[in-house]
Subunit: 365 residues, 2 copies
């Protein structure tokens, strides 16, 4: 796949320009979690390329310079494939649960307003639920709804025993207080994992969150499924958002990585990224991370999904990550593509969280 | 003060040996918070040495090597002096509150068992409360109390309107579940700030914790009071405990530092510490951080309070920090001594949190 991707505009000085909804798309990420432990299933039998696994200790790698190497050497971390595998595992678990105790996990999605991108996300979630046998509930409220109306629906779903997970599609209309709406979701049904109590438990040793936000957990899941060791590794997270960067850093630290968080106020971010064995980037800036930022042999997880103008595309744009793939793939040992990397993991993790919620409610293991 | 301290045993290969209760002492730290904003008072008028302030951008400093310099050059960050100033500010505020609305802040301390060190801490807290006009409540339960008995007292203090802060002295006897007891404290009275909801809010942008754990907030308060800039600086926190390391890292990040957390699984920790403009060490290992770990001009906040054997002391031991003071004070631009650095800030922050709790309950500003 890597060889088929042709990015020739990694330099920010070229015609690459962020389209205005870049940030919003990042904010629309949902939270979900999956681990082999939770699903109690063996690792997938997919024949992943494993050549890079033994190279995760990057300091032993020969130096590969972008200037002298013109071929992509990094293994592609195939999020689409992993997400498919996870959905199959969830399908089997949902089926087992239904047969054993007659309970079907349910996910309710609340959409306010008529943003096209949000409607697409909600539709995709609904389809994903159907594909694994999770029952989906949906309410679509008009843009000019009051906060009270949204809260009424949340309250209803909080009380509804057939709903195990509740998701409020972000962003909400500007006249609403996002915090007070998100906090109204019952902690037991907060499959997004955005509640401060969940984030606090994620941060604290000896505490367990009920749910972990899905995009960061999707990142870690990719590392796990590709047998990329985290313990003792130097990791850099670029970005400190509540829904990706901060929980990703906490998760990496929880797995014994030594974590540095780079953000908009960081001077000379590449000084840190160049030391990292693992980089997770979640800032929403097209091609920001250049080849020179990367240590040879590092593993790159690119959360950014940035539309850039592309006259040759029928849509007039194409999607690129935060990382200059063309340069990075020559230096890293493994890298997620955009699209097809972290993206597909998000909904898979949401489904997993919903399954977890249903299992927990009914004490089903 | 620095010149009067003589540490000649920074090397772990000498006779320095951790006494067995080192860790326990660290765990006994309490949480509290104070900021100029909360107190609405001007910065203290104490004549602090400020020569180092303009040197906080360490990269511009001349290289000072421990091997060629025999004199201490670092300014001493005098926690004892700052804590005294803060207590005076609190005294004034408590008095103003009492006169205005007739309310006296109250702090309840629950001590279980007969550990001498715990009893000393509780006695010191009580005395500190008295010194600023905060009313103190105390219950001392026997070692073999049940969890239910402790919970009964917490419940009583939760309901008591004259109690604004509740503190459970750690460690608890081993037969008790520390988490379930700490979680029973009403979030509005959790002046220790150890509740996951508080830690989560600390971690999240746009959220505000009700209380911040006192030791890490004491560290940040020292930086503030000495006008040491945090924004954009590289910071390393050594240790990732729930009560010091993790919240300290979150606080530094919240103030726009670029933070790395070093811990027991970190390979080559000094690679990171040598890049840091600010180091906060909270691991409980005597003299672990050597001069060679420190960038010239860095600021060192040493949370460790480690007893080491000292035959020349009447007590048979003396207290040293995590940082080899003798070496560090020749390289750093500013450093906290042990004792007399972070230590005295803990109780000051606890008093501050109690005042904050009372003000919030009575909507007094």
């Amino acid at each position: 796949m890597a060889s088929s991707m042709k990015f020739t505009d990694c330099s920010p000085s070229t015609t690459v320009r962020l389209l205005p909804y870049t940030r919003t798309r990042l904010r629309s990420s949902d939270g979900a979690v999956l681990s082999h432990r939770l699903l109690a299933l063996p690792r997938p039998a997919i024949a992943y390329p494993t050549a890079f696994v033994s190279r995760s200790s990057a300091s032993t790698l020969p130096v590969v310079s972008a200037s002298i190497s013109t071929e992509s050497t990094a293994k592609v971390i195939d999020g689409k494939l992993v997400a498919k595998q996870i959905r199959e595992e969830i399908t089997a678990e949902v089926s087992r649960m239904k047969e054993a105790i007659g309970v079907v996990p349910g996910l309710a999605v609340i959409l306010v307003g008529d943003r096209k991108d949000s409607a697409t996300y909600v539709r995709n979630k609904k389809k994903a639920c159907e594909s694994v046998g999770i029952k989906s509930f949906e309410v679509n409220l008009p843009e000019d709804s009051t906060e009270q109306e949204v809260l009424k629906y949340i309250s209803g779903y909080n009380d509804d025993p057939s709903v195990h997970g509740i998701l409020v599609q972000l962003p909400l209309p500007k006249h609403m207080n996002e915090q007070s709406i998100l906090h109204a979701v019952s902690i037991e049904k907060d499959v997004d994992g955005f509640h401060p109590l969940n984030i606090g438990r994620l941060a604290m040793r000896g505490e367990e969150p009920l749910f972990v936000p899905c995009t960061p957990k999707g990142c870690i899941e990719l590392l796990h499924r590709y047998n990329i060791s985290i313990k003792g590794k130097r990791a850099v997270v670029i970005g400190r958002s509540n829904i990706v960067g901060t929980p990703a850093a906490l998760l990496l630290q929880g797995e014994d990585a030594t974590v540095s968080v780079v953000h908009s106020r960081t001077k000379d971010p590449e000084e840190l990224t160049r030391q990292a064995d693992i980089i997770i980037s979640a800032v929403g800036k097209a091609n920001m991370v250049r080849g020179s930022w990367i240590k040879p042999g590092a593993v790159i997880i690119d959360v950014g999904i940035n539309p850039v103008e592309d006259a040759s595309s029928p849509r007039g744009y194409r999607l690129v990550g935060d990382v200059c793939y063309e340069e990075a793939s020559k230096i890293a040992s493994a890298i997620t593509p955009v699209p097809g990397g972290v993206g597909p993991m998000t909904i898979a993790m949401l489904l997993s969280n919903t399954l977890t919620a249903a299992k927990r409610t009914h004490n089903f293991q």
